[in-house]
């Protein structure tokens, strides 16, 4: 029982990171039809931001904020320099553009910072564990779950209650109509990138707190998983992305925890097979995007 509770905490914690990354992908996709494979590099850049801030002697809390800001700036810079020029291009051209951006950034990180992982050290008090009713639970997974839910609720508030959020939801339906109402589409797109960058930054903070290092390829794998999560949830559906992220993360941890070791090499295959089975039953994803898109 104790083992089960601990593994469930682990599962929710990892699922939460995937959910935030998937949501960032989905926000941008829903508005500009871009599957941003460079999203992982936004996360990596945020982590390097934390590393550099610590290296320059900033206190850890300030370094985290610096990392978040770095991720947002990177997301905005990406939109401005690479993706704005490609606005309206078809999905495949956009996808290839994002691959190019991703590769360029990876090489820049490698040559500009280091091909090796660099360490990120937070105060020991930030890790460690506590006990509830005789069950030991890690501080980092707990905090990451709280941060994740706060971020998701905050984003939900922005999307539901603010004009900027309404504009983003409207843009997902019909961005031309939004412009015909006089609302600056570029600004809405930029805000969506900034939000996706912020989510990637939060994911970077949690990721580095758990993993202790950042390397040029850091963002690739989690974003790959997040992409699977967005497809599972329903491409372009924000709620679906969050749900998909949690499902993929939980499947992954539970497979690691409870499958016999002899099946361990097939873990990813088993998780992906489960995703494919789900998609066969629900081809549009678990929570398909609400409205059909005009092309």
């Amino acid at each position: 029982m104790e083992l089960f509770i601990q593994q469930t905490v682990n599962a929710i914690s990892l699922g939460g990171v995937y959910a935030m990354l998937a949501l960032g992908l989905a926000i941008v996709f829903s508005i500009v039809r871009l599957i941003n494979f460079a999203h992982g590099e936004i996360m990596t850049f945020g982590a390097y931001g934390i590393f550099l801030a610590l290296a320059f002697g900033l206190p850890p809390a300030a370094a985290l904020l610096f990392g978040l800001a770095a991720a947002v700036v990177m997301a905005l810079a990406m939109e401005r320099t690479a993706f704005r020029a490609m606005r309206g291009a078809d999905v495949v051209s956009l996808l290839i553009t994002s691959f190019a951006v991703s590769e360029i950034l990876k090489v820049l990180f490698q040559n500009g910072i280091s091909p090796r992982p660099v360490p990120i050290t937070f105060p020991p008090a930030w890790s460690g564990a506590y006990e509830v009713g005789g069950i030991t639970i890690g501080v980092v997974p707990t905090v990451s779950i709280m941060v994740t839910f706060t971020a998701l609720m905050g984003l939900s508030f922005i999307l539901r209650r603010t004009v900027a959020g309404m504009a983003m939801r409207a843009a997902a339906e019909d961005i031309e109509m939004l412009r015909l109402l006089g609302i600056r589409a570029n600004r809405v797109v930029a805000v969506s990138f900034a939000l996706s960058g912020l989510l990637a930054g939060i994911a970077a903070v949690i990721w580095t707190a758990q993993r202790g290092s950042v390397d040029p390829l850091m963002g690739f794998f989690p974003v790959l998983k997040a992409f699977i999560a967005t497809v599972l949830g329903g491409l372009g559906s924000l709620g679906g992305a969050v749900l998909g992220g949690f499902v993929v993360g939980m499947l992954e941890v539970l497979a690691q925890a409870f499958l016999p070791d002899s099946l361990a090499p097939y873990r990813d295959a088993i998780v992906l097979a489960a995703v494919i089975a789900a998609l066969l039953m629900r081809p549009d994803g678990l929570l398909p995007a609400a409205s059909a898109h005009r092309s």
Binding site: N10, K106, R116, P117, P124, G138, P141, G212, A257
Partner: protein, 383 residues
């Protein structure tokens, strides 16, 4: 088939004509500039080229054979590696130094097998890599040697129950803990269990939770995980309150791992060498710093330099630069003189028997010398 033999003939002619034109010895070097091998190939190549340059300044290998290197980027891609090895052979290479891992080395050795061109890995340590043929050599103390020395140390320190964390995705991450386990059990210890992870696994919490729940509890956790997996694993372990001693392979011997702070303090790892004051190794570091301005902060630099020494001694013993003669001479070296440590190929599977250092990471992130030992060939776990 026809094409292949024509190609080989062309290569042969090219090699002959190059040899005829100059007394220069061409060494092809695979060096990944990007991808997962870049952190190892980069330093290894820098150290190798540094010592080759020093030798060339004195007239070449043994003062006779000037060396020209052909260096090609593989992007850590095996197919690209095969391609560049072929190009280097076409360019007259009579010795190939291959990337710092078993898999690309095995692929390269299959290309060089036709002409028996000696092929030596920068730092691949999986003993299986030399099984491609008599022309393939390791250079760094192999995983089974490291595992055996570390297991002997663990037993001497009174550890009884080990838990292995390994990844079947690479010969290194899988083999190291296994060799440790075999040697540990041969010395009377017990392996309680093992956990498998995948390279670049996002999350180690499930593994950690399992280890924590193990009953009886292990008193040492052994892994050959590299970055970024090792930092993630140790953070997860310590984060969950597991304080068990951690021991690992030489990939833990990096500034990144030492920079992790409190979570790694007290961890023990193997290493290929240790720059004691006044040693040849310490002198190498000084010379390298003076010339390049870079501090060699890991053993790949000095091991690269030792590869130059291995080639020099093999060529001297062979009395020629003929590939087959060099291979045969290399395999026969006994107690050859190196900078990081001496090396013996004779009686081994062409994975040189070398000293292994056991080191501990101190609380302030420094590397502390613990012991230096050579694995006993009699009890060395077989690949």
């Amino acid at each position: 088939m026809k094409l292949k033999s024509m190609l080989l003939a062309a290569v042969g002619v090219a090699a002959l004509s190059t040899a005829a034109m100059a007394e220069e010895y061409v060494i092809g070097v695979m060096s990944a500039q990007s991808g997962y091998l870049a952190p190892y190939d980069g330093p290894a190549y820098a150290g190798f080229q540094f010592c080759i340059d020093e030798m060339n300044a004195k007239g070449g290998l043994n003062g006779k054979h000037k060396v020209r290197t052909i260096v090609k980027d593989t992007r850590s891609d095996i197919a690209e590696g095969v391609k560049v090895v072929q190009e280097m052979l076409d360019g007259g290479a009579k010795f190939i130094v291959s990337s710092a891992d078993a898999d690309p080395t095995i692929a390269a050795a299959q290309i060089t097998a036709a002409d028996g061109v000696p092929t030596m890995t920068f730092a691949g340590t999986a003993p299986v890599l030399t099984q491609v043929g008599p022309h393939v050599f390791g250079s760094y103390p192999a995983d089974n040697q490291q595992g055996a020395v570390l297991a002997a140390y663990a037993r001497d320190e009174g550890f009884k129950q080990a838990w292995l964390v390994k990844s079947p995705d690479s010969a290194y991450t899988n083999g190291g803990p296994e060799y440790f386990g075999k040697a540990f059990e041969a010395l009377g210890g017990k392996v309680l269990g093992e956990s498998l992870y995948t390279l670049n696994q996002p999350d180690f919490s499930a593994i950690v939770t399992k280890i924590k729940a193990a009953d009886p509890a292990p008193d040492v956790i052994v892994t050959w995980a590299w970055e970024p997996d090792f930092p993630a694993l140790i953070k997860a372990l310590r984060g969950a309150g597991v304080k068990t001693q951690v021991m690992g392979g030489d990939v833990m011997d990096t500034p990144t791992v030492r920079g992790l702070g409190e979570v790694v303090a007290g961890s023990v790892h193997t290493s290929g060498g240790f720059p004691d004051e006044g040693s040849a190794y310490a002198d190498f570091i000084k010379r390298f710093e003076a010339k390049t301005g870079t501090t060699p902060d890991n053993n790949y630099y000095v091991n690269g330099c030792d590869i130059a020494h291995m080639i020099e001694q093999a060529v001297a013993a062979a009395g020629s630069t003929d590939p087959k003669a060099v291979s045969a001479a290399m395999a026969n070296i006994e107690n050859g003189k190196g900078v990081m440590s001496n090396f013996t190929f004779k009686g081994t599977d062409r994975m040189p028997l070398r000293e292994v250092v056991v080191a501990r990471i101190s609380a302030d992130g420094k590397k502390e010398f613990v012991r230096r030992a050579i694995a006993d060939p009699a009890t060395l776990p077989k690949p």
